[in-house]
Structure formats: structure tokens, C-alpha cells
Symmetry: C2
Subunit: 152 residues, 2 copies
Amino acid sequence: MKLDTIDKKLLELLQNDAKQTTKVLSLQLNLSKTAVYERIRKLEKEGVIKGYTALLDKKKIDKAFVVFCHVRLTQHTKEHVVGFESDVIRLEEVLECYHVSGDYDYILKVNVADMQAYRNFMTSKLTSLKHIGSTHSIFMIEEVKNTTVVEL
Amino acid sequence: MKLDTIDKKLLELLQNDAKQTTKVLSLQLNLSKTAVYERIRKLEKEGVIKGYTALLDKKKIDKAFVVFCHVRLTQHTKEHVVGFESDVIRLEEVLECYHVSGDYDYILKVNVADMQAYRNFMTSKLTSLKHIGSTHSIFMIEEVKNTTVVEL
DNA sequence: TTCATAACCGAACATTTTTCTTTTTACTGA
DNA sequence: TCAGTAAAAAGAAAAATGTTCGGTTATGAA
């Protein structure tokens, strides 16, 4: 699917505030409500827009502790890789998991309440997964920037 | 602000789909539309809900390339730190930036189209910032998990 | 140019959000 | 235990929004 200038501006507006009414959007885009409505529906249907979510303040829900956990597997057979990935997806503390280049195989972004909870996560959940070799944790001291908004 | 069981379930529902109507939400929570409506307004007012966003498919908007860039500063005076942070916030390619423990000072999550665009970002934007010492890039091979939904 | 398709528009209709008033529930101190 | 008070919840009405429709205007290919 090809996105024109209006689509891109529309996606930018929706990323910044998905609750804007089509009326407000239409004024910013110099289009009618209907045109905006149909463009949004199309972007949803094509899968460009995957969904809509409420963003929460991590400090206010007691999940302010973020750790980047680097993971190395003991082996790299397909079985080991698939096994680890399907296990790690189910861990609710792991918000993100990437297979990466470099010394380690995976980077996990782990989100918990505090160091105590992280220790608990590591000992009772992560390191008890099969095929885990070594891990290396980098702790967040402060969040300088955190946005979901991608520029188009 | 204290969150009760209903608030937590409501936040979970809104994280998974912020476009659900209060009617649908009220059925899942065994509450009236108005009660749900007022709880949401309160959560917004208190800042627990920071906002609403549309989530996009990175592959479909040509931003599938993700890099974790570790950054070391030349010095760590307040001036250097503040200067770097205010500069990096303005870089649209940097979706996330954390001040972290360990060998490096910062971890940046950089999102661009491809390796070419990343090279361009590094040479013409990041490394031209003041106070940048050394950097170390870890490239994403595959996204195994990526969610904004925090469990409560 | 001509045809076919896609995008757009304004108006009508259907739903939802928001406000308002009343009722219920939960809590506190005598 | 029992008022008294405040917070939370409910239902109905009003305001605003989302959605559908028929018709019109651009767009692009033959």
C-alpha cells in the first residue's frame, strides 16, 4: 500500500492523539469528515494501523523499574531458538524481546516494580527457562525519552 | 492515587484496545456506562493514563530497522549531561533514550528505514552532537516481542 | 478523449459520549 | 449501633460523534 502526504499527516496526528474526533482531524487535514473516516478505515484494514492503546504512566502504576537484559543461549539450533522465543513471549514482565547481533543473542526489555521484583523475575522465571546460557543486566537510571510516535 | 481491582482491569482493557466503547467496557466490568466513564476520566485527570495512541506496523511504514545504540560521554559534568539529553530528545529517529548503569552512559533505541539510513543518522546527526565519546551499536535481527501493555 | 476507478462531499441516520439528577453504597465518629 | 457524610453508581436526556448513503468530482490508463 502506498501512503500519500495526507495519510502520513493523518498517521502522525493519530499517533499523537488517537482520541481526536474525525471533525478535528478533518479541519487539520482540509478534508471532509467522511474522507478522513474512510482513510482511517483503510489504514486499519491494510494493517498500517495495528490498533489503539492507552499509554500509562509507569511511575503511577508502580512499574518504574526498567532493565535491559542481554541473553546468550547455550546452543543455537532451531529447536533451542524456537523454544526460548515461545517461552519468553509468555513472560509478562518482558515488554520487548529482540534477536540481535553481537556478543549476546537477545535483548529483553524487562519492566517490573523494583530491584526486588527484578531479582525475583530473574531467579524464578528467566534463568529457569531451558537453553539459557549467560545473562547481563543493564539497569535504567533515568528515562530521558520514551515515545511510540514514529515520524513519517 | 490508589487503584482498585476494577481500575486495574479497566486499564488492562484500555491498553489492549483503547477504542472500545464504554458500553462494551461496562459489560466486561459489570458496571454502568456512567461509572466506567467517570473512572476513565479520573484516571486521565490523575495522569495514570497519559494519552491514547495509534500503533503502526513498522514494516508497512518503512521503518523496520531497529538499533540499540550505546553511548558514552566524554565527561559527566551536569552541563555535559543536560546538553546531551536535550539534544538527543530532539532526534526523531531516537524513540527511546535511557540513562543506564554499566560501561556506557546511555542506551538509545533508534528506528530508521535501513542500514543506509542508520549510517546517515550516525554520521550526520548522533556523532555530531557535543560531548559524545564512543558508541556501540547492536542491530536487531528480528523482533520477537514488542508490546506496550503492562500487566497490573 | 473516454472509460473505469478511486477519492471526496454533504446530508441523514445510528451510536456514543457527556451531563444531570437520583439512588445506593461505604465510611466515620459519637 | 446508628445517624451523618461523602464517594461511587445508576438511569435518562442531551449533545456530540461515528457511520452510511447517494451523488459528484478528480485521477489514471487505454
